[in-house]
Structure formats: structure tokens, C-alpha cells
């Protein structure tokens, strides 16, 4: 990790925190900090990615601004995280996309569906595109199956490759140790799935102000759970198609549609709530520079969920063709921009939790 101003500032703050340690009960960051006396750039990157941004330490801090020490861990670590996303992005030059990330994600969220719509209009017979379609293969009469598979599969494959390479670079770049036992992996997985560090232990976190609540945790769970359900819906649909020979559209009560329906609802609730939280939360412990990219990504996820649900609702009408094109465009755009967006936080935080679980056992 290069020695940026943010790294220097994070080190200054951690050296104060490490002499204080009042926050040891909040999350994994402070026990991980206490295992160290000196903080290399790699250590600070690890700690920053371990931070879930619950803001508990900021509101509890006797040295928070306007104190001269000006300790603001959530803001500083958020900035450092974003720098680490850029540093470890693959291919190497692409880290620059994390600058003005809000503009990038917004542009993708607009251009991808527009391009998809234009492409569909160019390819599909207008008589099919604007009329109600029903029966087996209805969707594929609008957008050919091979095209969906090529574009969606290709963009998803790229996202996996880029994020996998990022993960590898991060793991090496923060001086990781090899995984030798399953226990740390299980613990990290548990921490990821339960968001234990967002106020686990029952008290919740300071998601709006200095009062404790579990709102952010539950909204994130709704969004993450919804996202995974939608992913499961697609996977189930593919299994139905390839292995069972059951072609879409599926009935509303079928497994893929049910997974997608509830997943979409979860994503809508989660993204709407998280967008609302961002607008009402105390602005001091927030990294303003990153807000654009975060708002844009939440907006894109909201659009994907909303267009998916709308498509489900109107799939037997003449609006289906246009909605399908828009929805596919949004999803493909999402996959393409995913490795250069807030979405990578899941990867690096997961690795940071894994490293922390390893360190605890080594200590």
C-alpha cells in the first residue's frame, strides 16, 4: 500500500487509539489494532477494510472533532478503503475508475439500459417487441437466448475474474498468511453473514446519530439477502432450462420466480432504506468524497430490483419487451462496473475478517 496522506493520517489516529482503547468493545478493528504497536500501510489497509462503518467509535470518542486530535476513524478508514480498492483493482490501470465513481456508476446505469434498448430494437421484430407474448420462450422471442447468455454470462464472468484477481492482489498486498485450518474461514463466513461487526451483541450501531440501533444492519441484510435470492433465482432458472428442460416464463409460484420476487422485494427495501439512512445520518463521520459512488450503486441496485419486479408484473403485457431490455441492460451494466464500484467492499472486508480470525488464533 503506498504511503498516501490518508495512510499517514490513519496511522496518526491509530497511534492515539492504541494508547486509549476505550473502543475495544465495539468491533473487530480495535482488538486487531491492540495486537500491533506499529502500523504499516498494509496493517492500516487491513484495519480499514475490517471497519464496517458503524460509527460507534466516532460518537464515543473523547478526541473526535472539534478536539484538536480530531479522531474520525469511520471517515478516515472509508477513505483508506476506497484507496485500497483502487490500488488492488485489476487490470492494474483500472483503479482510476474509483475516482469520480458516482459519475461512472451513474453513466453505466443510464447508458447500459439505453444501449440494450437500442440493440433490442435493432434486432427484434417490432411486431414482437411491442405486443404481449406468452407461452414457452416468450422472453427469447424479444431477446434471443444466445445473446442473453453471451452478454450476461460474459459480463458476469468478467466481474468474477476481475474481482478474483483483486482479491488475490489484496491478499498478497496486505501480507496475508496461508489458510491452514477451516476454523478461521468458518468464523469469517459467520461474521459476514451475520454482520456481527455492525453492532453485534445486541446494542446495534450508531447508524444515524449517537443513539444505538440495528437499522443499518437489517437494511443491509435485506439488500444482501435479496441480492443473493435474485442470484439464486437466476441459477435455478438456468438449472430448470438446461437440466430439467423447463423453459421460462415460469409460473408465479415456481421456485425461480418466488426467489426472484422475494429477492427483489428485499433489495428494494434494503436499498431504499440505506439511501434514506445516508441522507439523515450525521455527516461528520462520513467520507463525503465517496458518497457519489455509494448513492449511485444503491440507485443502480434499486433500479435492477424495481425493473425486475415490474417485468414480473407486466410480463404478460406488451410492455414486457421494453422492460426485459431495460432490466437486462441494467444487470449487464452492473456486472461490468461491479469490480470498480462499492461492490468490492464485500470481497476485501471478507478477506479482512478472515485475516482477523487467523490473527486471533495466532495471538
Amino acid at each position: 500500500m503506498s504511503e498516501t496522506d490518508t495512510v499517514v493520517e490513519a496511522r496518526r489516529q491509530m497511534e492515539i487509539c492504541n494508547a486509549c482503547r476505550y473502543c475495544e468493545g465495539y468491533c473487530a478493528v480495535f482488538p486487531a489494532m491492540a495486537m500491533r504497536r506499529e502500523f504499516t500501510g498494509a496493517d492500516l489497509t487491513h484495519l480499514a477494510n475490517l471497519c464496517h462503518g458503524c460509527k460507534g467509535c466516532y460518537h464515543a470518542c473523547q478526541y473526535a472533532p472539534p478536539h484538536a486530535f480530531g479522531i474520525n476513524i469511520p471517515q478516515t478508514f472509508a477513505t483508506l478503503r476506497a484507496e485500497s480498492y483502487a490500488e488492488f483493482a485489476w487490470p492494474a490501470g483500472m483503479g482510476g475508475l474509483f475516482e469520480r465513481n458516482g459519475t461512472l456508476v451513474t453513466a453505466v446505469a443510464v447508458l447500459a439500459p439505453v444501449l440494450a434498448l437500442l440493440l433490442t430494437m435493432a434486432l427484434a421484430d417490432p411486431a414482437t417487441l411491442y405486443t404481449a407474448q406468452s407461452g414457452v420462450g416468450a422472453f427469447f422471442r424479444v431477446v434471443p437466448y444466445w445473446l442473453i447468455i453471451t452478454l450476461a454470462g460474459g459480463s458476469f464472468g468478467f466481474a468474477l475474474l476481475a474481482m478474483g484477481q483483486g482479491a488475490r492482489r489484496y491478499w498478497r498486498g496486505t501480507a496475508q498468511k496461508p489458510i491452514t485450518s477451516p476454523a478461521p474461514v468458518a468464523e469469517a463466513a459467520f461474521d459476514i453473514l451475520t454482520l456481527r461487526n455492525l453492532g453485534g451483541g445486541g446494542h446495534g450501531c450508531n447508524d444515524v446519530d449517537d443513539s444505538f440501533s440495528a437499522t443499518k444492519r437489517w437494511l443491509h441484510q435485506a439488500m444482501f439477502g435479496g441480492f443473493m435470492l435474485c442470484f439464486a433465482a437466476t441459477t435455478t432458472g438456468a438449472i430448470f432450462h438446461h437440466f430439467l428442460g423447463w423453459k421460462s416464463p415460469h409460473a408465479f409460484l415456481s421456485l425461480p420466480v418466488q426467489l426472484g420476487f422475494w429477492g427483489g422485494i428485499g433489495m428494494l427495501i434494503g436499498t431504499t432504506g440505506l439511501l434514506w439512512l445516508k441522507t439523515v445520518t450525521d455527516p461528520v463521520p462520513v467520507a463525503k468524497k465517496l458518497l457519489g459512488g455509494e448513492y449511485a450503486m444503491l440507485g443502480l441496485l434499486w433500479l435492477i430490483a424495481a425493473s425486475g419486479l415490474l417485468l414480473l408484473g407486466l410480463r404478460h403485457t406488451g410492455a414486457m419487451g421494453v422492460l426485459l431490455a431495460l432490466h437486462l441492460g441494467l444487470v449487464i451494466g452492473f456486472f461490468l462496473v461491479m469490480p470498480y464500484s462499492k461492490m468490492v467492499h464485500g470481497i476485501y472486508r471478507g478477506l479482512a475478517l478472515l485475516r482477523h480470525a487467523q490473527e486471533k488464533r495466532a495471538a
Partner: protein
């Protein structure tokens, strides 16, 4: 804008734990309450902002306290640190009431943390606030707001006007504007005077300029002085304060807990004349940290220097400001502005005097010196592994002992020996009744909560009648 024409049932002066515990209790009992906090909102809470735990009696383990801690042991601990300078009846009442302090605070939204490592290993006797004192203060203010208590920040109470021993109104500066608050009772919870350097100079002369004030700069003692000037009985030694060994590079005010240094037992400590002046290894640090502030305050220019080498570095908690480092003792002395030959001799004499032993950090081990004055009686290892380290030390004052005398109902006692008609006190401003000298970790917060609750209850009872 607050209504300054109104007459409030209770005026609470101050904004820390003792003030808020009083205000909340009074409001819960139905009184109308106004709080005058000198600090702005971001710096509210007095010294409570820098605290971490409170000491609570418990007959059995709780979710935040291990084992048990009973009255007799608690009382013995208090008797030992105060050297008998306490009021047994008040102290025992406080100790018994401390059992219910964590529950009261929890009801006010304070979150306690399950006992963890704890820098002083106090999980048996002390309940730790999750995130520390500022998180506690936040929860108390939130509760006070919900109860409809009027909270004035940036509001200094300059004078409490007494008519025949009866407080009727207070002259205040509200955001810079002169105003008055009319009230039926007053609870004084405005702390000690440790941040008032002029007052400290009366007893300490120029040395006071070199004292670092660990906590809030708002502890000016204005209300304390005003009450004492109007016939309230005083308690505690005005010249005395609680002080620890701080990093000499700390801010002069509000540096908080992280400025304290724990390196003394693993170092040799010299003053500006390059003379050792006290046994650095007399006892474990949790039992000695509080006397080192006073020791340093008595040295020339209130400065001292802890000298150690690279092997000691990991025996104490990290410091905010890194130690000065050098490859020879002479270089280190030059960096510190000390006489290099003298420091080299002090360290050489010490090294010669070190006896063989088995080093055990944190436990009274058998590593000691023989043949120097003063001896170092534990953790004495040769200082011979460069780089050599030095931490400059200065006294960091936590609080002053001077206070107003109170009775067991938190009523302020007048010089004629009678309790005041309607003035109560809680917190540091009256802690000297129980803590005549010394300190017991977390006991200040206990006194604040216990007397805050009593004061709030009594004030509400008074105005209801």
C-alpha cells in the same frame, strides 16, 4: 430560545454524569428541570467524557461484573487509598447505593461492555461503559431530552443568588448573553477547579503553569468558589489534587486518558538535575500511577524523564507520542536537554546495582537493585540494549479535592452547621466529603451517580411540598 421568565423547579448546574443523573431523577419525579452546561454541545459532559467505568458493589456476578464485591472489601479499599480521610457514614451509604448505579444508568440507555482485557484489570470491581464516558454522556443527554428537560449549552453559571440561605435565581452567561434563571432549587454539579490555573497558583505558584489538565477546560470552580463565599461549608484540602504521570508533550488541557504513560515501572526516572527521586518499581502500576503525578509536580520545572531500552518497549501500553530514541545514553541525554555525562553515570550506576532475577512484567518480581539511592525494588533490569528510549513526563491533574460539605441527602451544609434549604450538590464538587485524598478507580463516577440520584430525588421532593 429558552424561556428565562419562567421559574423552574430545579436548576442543575453542570453537564456531566452527576448533573445528568440528578436532572433525570428530578424530572422522573415530576419536577421541571433546566440544565446549565458551560461547554458547547460537542464538548459536553465535563470530566465524565474522559471516564471509562464505575465501581459497583455486587453480591454475585452480573453480566458486566465478575465474582462479587461486597461492602467490607469496598470500604477497606476506600480506607486504604484515603488513609482514613473519609466520612464513614457517607462512604458506606455510597457503597451500598453503588449496587443500583449500573441499573439506573442502563435504564438511561447506557450500554455496558462484557468484561474484556481492561487496561487495569478491573472487571471484578468496575463496570465498563461500552465506548467509554462520552458514550455514557450521550445516552444520558438523550434520556434527558426525552424527559423534556431544558438543556442549555454554552451556559456558564456565574453566581447563585442566595436570600437568607435560600437560592432563588442564578446569574448566567447564555451563549455570551447575560441572563437569569429563576428556580425553586439548585443542584450544583459543576465539578472542581482544576482547570483554573490562577486558583492553582495560589497554592502552587509558578509550578501551576506546568501542570497539564487532563480533563475538561470548563472545570473553573466558579460555582464552588461562589458557594464557599456565601457561607457554604468547605471540605477537602484546597491545595491537593489527583494527578498522574502524563506525557510532557500533551496538550495543556483536555488531553484525556491517552496522555498517561505506563512506562515508569520499566524505566529509571530522573528529573532535570539528572537525579533519580523515587523507587520506580515500588508496586504494580495500577497501585502507583496516581502518586507519580504528585512526585513529578515536586521536581524542578515539574519535569521528569523515563529512561529505558529496547527490551522494555513491549512491557507497557503504547504511547501516543513515540519515545525519543538514541543509540547511546549520551545522545539520548542531549536530545532531552540533559547533562550527558551525568545521565550516563546514573544509568551506569543503576546497571551496576541491578541484581540477578527473573523478570515478570505486571507482577511483583525479584528484579531489584542494591547499593543505590533510591533503590528500584522490582522490574530492575540493566538498561543496555540500544536503541535507548526516553519518555518526558509532566504532572497531569485529574481533579481537585476541595469541595462543598454535604449531608447524606446531598444537601449542602452551611457554616452554621445546618443543611441548606434548597441547595444540593453531586459529583466532583462534593467528592471530597468521601475522598479526602487518593483515588479508587471508577469511584468518582459512582459518587456522581449516587449523589446525583439523591440530589434529584430530594430536590423534586422539596418543590412538590
Amino acid at each position: 430560545m429558552p424561556d428565562f421568565t419562567r421559574t423552574w423547579d430545579v436548576l442543575v448546574v453542570g453537564g456531566g454524569n452527576a448533573a445528568l443523573s440528578a436532572a433525570i431523577t428530578a424530572a422522573q419525579a415530576g419536577a421541571s428541570v433546566i440544565i446549565a452546561e458551560h461547554a458547547p454541545k460537542t464538548m459536553r459532559g465535563g470530566n465524565s467524557r474522559h471516564t471509562r467505568n464505575l465501581r459497583a458493589l455486587h453480591p454475585a456476578p452480573t453480566d458486566v461484573l465478575t465474582d462479587s464485591y461486597l461492602e467490607e472489601e469496598y470500604w477497606d479499599d476506600l480506607l486504604r487509598v484515603t488513609g482514613g480521610r473519609t466520612d464513614e457514614a457517607l462512604a458506606r451509604m455510597t457503597i451500598r447505593a453503588s449496587q443500583h448505579a449500573p441499573g439506573f444508568l442502563r435504564d438511561c440507555g447506557v450500554v455496558f461492555q462484557p468484561s474484556l482485557s481492561g487496561t487495569l484489570s478491573l472487571s471484578r470491581t468496575n463496570a465498563f461503559f461500552l465506548g467509554g464516558g462520552k458514550a455514557l454522556v450521550n445516552a444520558l443527554y438523550r434520556t434527558a431530552e426525552k424527559l423534556g428537560i431544558e438543556i442549555l449549552y454554552d451556559t456558564e453559571v456565574q453566581e447563585i443568588l442566595l436570600e437568607e440561605g435560600f437560592a432563588r435565581e442564578a446569574i448566567i452567561s447564555w451563549r455570551g448573553f447575560p441572563e437569569r434563571i429563576r428556580c425553586k432549587s439548585v443542584i450544583a454539579s459543576a465539578g472542581g477547579f482544576q482547570a483554573n490555573r490562577e486558583w492553582l497558583r495560589q497554592y502552587w505558584g509558578d509550578a501551576a503553569d506546568n501542570f497539564q489538565i487532563r480533563g475538561t477546560p470548563y472545570a473553573q470552580g466558579t460555582v464552588l468558589k461562589n458557594l464557599l463565599a456565601q457561607g457554604v461549608q468547605e471540605v477537602g484540602d484546597a491545595t491537593q489534587f489527583h494527578a498522574v504521570a502524563n506525557d510532557a508533550r500533551s496538550p495543556m488541557c483536555d488531553g484525556g486518558l491517552a496522555m498517561r504513560l505506563d512506562c515508569v515501572p520499566y524505566s529509571v526516572v530522573v528529573n532535570e538535575n539528572v537525579e533519580r527521586f523515587y523507587d520506580e518499581g515500588e508496586d504494580v502500576w495500577p497501585k502507583r500511577y496516581a502518586i507519580w503525578g504528585r512526585l513529578i509536580a515536586q521536581q524542578p520545572n515539574q519535569r521528569a524523564f523515563a529512561i529505558s531500552d529496547s527490551q522494555a518497549l513491549h512491557d507497557y501500553l503504547p504511547s501516543v507520542f513515540p519515545p525519543l530514541k538514541a543509540n547511546s545514553i549520551g545522545e539520548l541525554a542531549t536530545a532531552l536537554g540533559l547533562d550527558a555525562a551525568k545521565l550516563a553515570k546514573v544509568v551506569a550506576d543503576y546497571n551496576t546495582a541491578v541484581q540477578p532475577g527473573t523478570f515478570q512484567g505486571g507482577k511483583l518480581d525479584d528484579c531489584r537493585t542494591q547499593g543505590i539511592t533510591p533503590e528500584k525494588t522490582h522490574w530492575a533490569r540493566r538498561i543496555d540494549q540500544p536503541p535507548y528510549h526516553a519518555h518526558p513526563l509532566a504532572p497531569g491533574i485529574t481533579f481537585t479535592f476541595l469541595g462543598v460539605k454535604v449531608n447524606d441527602r446531598a444537601r449542602v451544609m452551611m457554616s452554621d452547621g445546618k443543611p441548606s434549604a434548597n441547595i444540593f450538590a453531586s459529583g466532583e464538587i462534593m467528592a471530597g466529603n468521601i475522598l479526602g485524598q487518593g483515588y479508587l478507580a471508577g469511584f468518582g463516577m459512582t459518587i456522581g451517580t449516587v449523589f446525583g440520584r439523591i440530589a434529584g430525588e430530594e430536590a423534586a421532593k422539596l418543590v412538590r411540598n
